[in-house]
């Protein structure tokens, strides 16, 4: 199984998990996303620095499904996250590297049925998001302050 690891594409991506829902914003495109259930699980595993096999293992602890099914879902989903610019693959880790994982919740939650992760994508506020984050409030420096860090121009 691939040992590829990923990093969240910060600072171009903002994200936070609220009530088991991962909400993600791509500041370069103005798209925003919601991940629930297994999708949020994959996201939190990626956030912890897990590789594919560790993500699959994390899901296997939580859901009842054949490992092959989990692996196919994870591979496909991680590809989708990359296509959307939310995460990027890191170079293959050295074998000597200790995977920075396995610190996740170990509660023996009862296994539930597995539903493949779904990336809910919202495009309706692109123009607002592209304009907004650079024009911000800073309580120390006064507001507003506008800044566009070196990032691609918004699409027309």
């Amino acid at each position: 199984m691939s040992s590829a690891r990923f990093r969240i594409n910060e600072p171009h991506v903002l994200h936070q998990t609220i009530d088991n829902e991962a909400v993600i914003i791509n500041l370069d495109t103005g798209n925003y996303y919601s991940l629930l259930k297994s999708g949020a699980d994959v996201w939190s595993a990626v956030e912890r620095g897990a590789g594919i096999s560790e993500i699959v293992a994390a899901l296997a602890r939580k859901y009842k499904a054949a490992e092959k099914v989990l692996e196919d879902s994870v591979v496909k989903f991680v590809e989708q996250l990359q296509t959307e610019g939310l995460i990027e693959a890191l170079h293959e880790a050295n074998d000597s590297d200790n995977p920075p994982t396995a610190h996740e919740e170990t509660s023996a939650a009862p296994q539930g049925p597995f539903e493949p992760p779904v990336l809910e994508k919202y495009e309706d506020m692109q123009d607002l998001i592209l304009l907004d984050p650079i024009h911000e409030v800073d309580e120390e420096k006064g507001w507003p302050h506008a800044r566009r860090p070196g990032k691609p121009d918004p699409k027309p």
Binding site: V23, L131, W143, P144, A146, D153
Partner: protein
């Protein structure tokens, strides 16, 4: 024959320690080809001389100074003070092109059923920046469709129907309001012209602070929740 009185537009500038570009913002409102315009400047407790700058334009504007509260609260105060039947918002570092209100009001004249008229935004790197700071900024090559408060001319009743600005947010105040406005599906049109010039000037980016980033995400999480609730009903 007496000509029908034109509708009063209230332009709202809120400022907190924005002395550097405030005069230019004020001048861009006073230079509007449309009249009558009431300019309401609410100072949110500045201590950098903003108060004196705005005061220097009296009596061409209405000037108010309050203890510091935050952008949402300051804008809400200004809305309460504004007497116009139409509202426009300008940040203290941005500029209105002089024909902006005239162009947007022409749309209302043609179609009185409209509730809000949006326009496009152009960004520019503030010319007073030194080379180093200017290099770090990049203005969008193209005009951007502006649905943010700074790009709209809106009927007062329509604004109040969407609701006031969120006073708990430090970031995403405009985004939050615009998201709520889009859910109300106001009768709107967007003019192709530039209605706001956005100045890029600071090397500061509030989104670097984790608390601010989280708050920004929460604004969108709320929008997602409202959408799901609407879909269910």
């Amino acid at each position: 024959m007496e000509t029908a009185a034109l509708a009063l537009i209230s332009v709202i500038i809120t400022v907190y320690n924005g002395a550097r570009y405030l005069a230019a913002a004020i001048e861009s409102v006073l230079a509007q080809t449309y009249q009558p315009v009431e300019l309401v400047v609410v100072d949110d407790g500045s201590d950098d001389g903003s108060e004196k700058i705005a005061g220097g334009f009296l009596p061409a504007l209405r000037h108010f100074y309050y203890p510091h509260e935050g952008m949402g609260g300051a804008r809400n105060r200004a809305v309460a003070l504004a007497e116009g039947s139409f509202l426009a918002f300008l940040d203290a570092d941005d500029l209105f092109p002089s024909d902006r209100l005239e162009r947007q009001m022409a749309k209302f004249t043609r179609d009185p059923a409209l509730e809000v008229v949006y326009g496009h935004v152009r960004e520019f790197v503030s010319p007073d920046l030194d080379e180093m700071s200017a290099k770090r900024l990049r203005a969008a090559a193209k005009r951007i469709r502006g649905r943010l408060p700074g790009a709209m001319l809106i009927r007062r009743e329509a604004f109040l129907r969407v609701g006031l600005f969120d006073t708990t947010l430090k970031v995403g105040v405009g985004l939050d309001w615009a998201a709520r406005a889009s859910e109300r599906q106001l009768r709107n049109v967007m003019v192709p012209e530039i209605v706001m010039e956005r100045r890029l000037h600071s090397d500061n980016n509030a989104l670097r602070q984790k608390e601010s980033r989280n708050q920004y995400v929460q604004v969108l999480k709320s929008a997602i929740d409202r959408r799901r609730a609407t879909r269910r009903t």
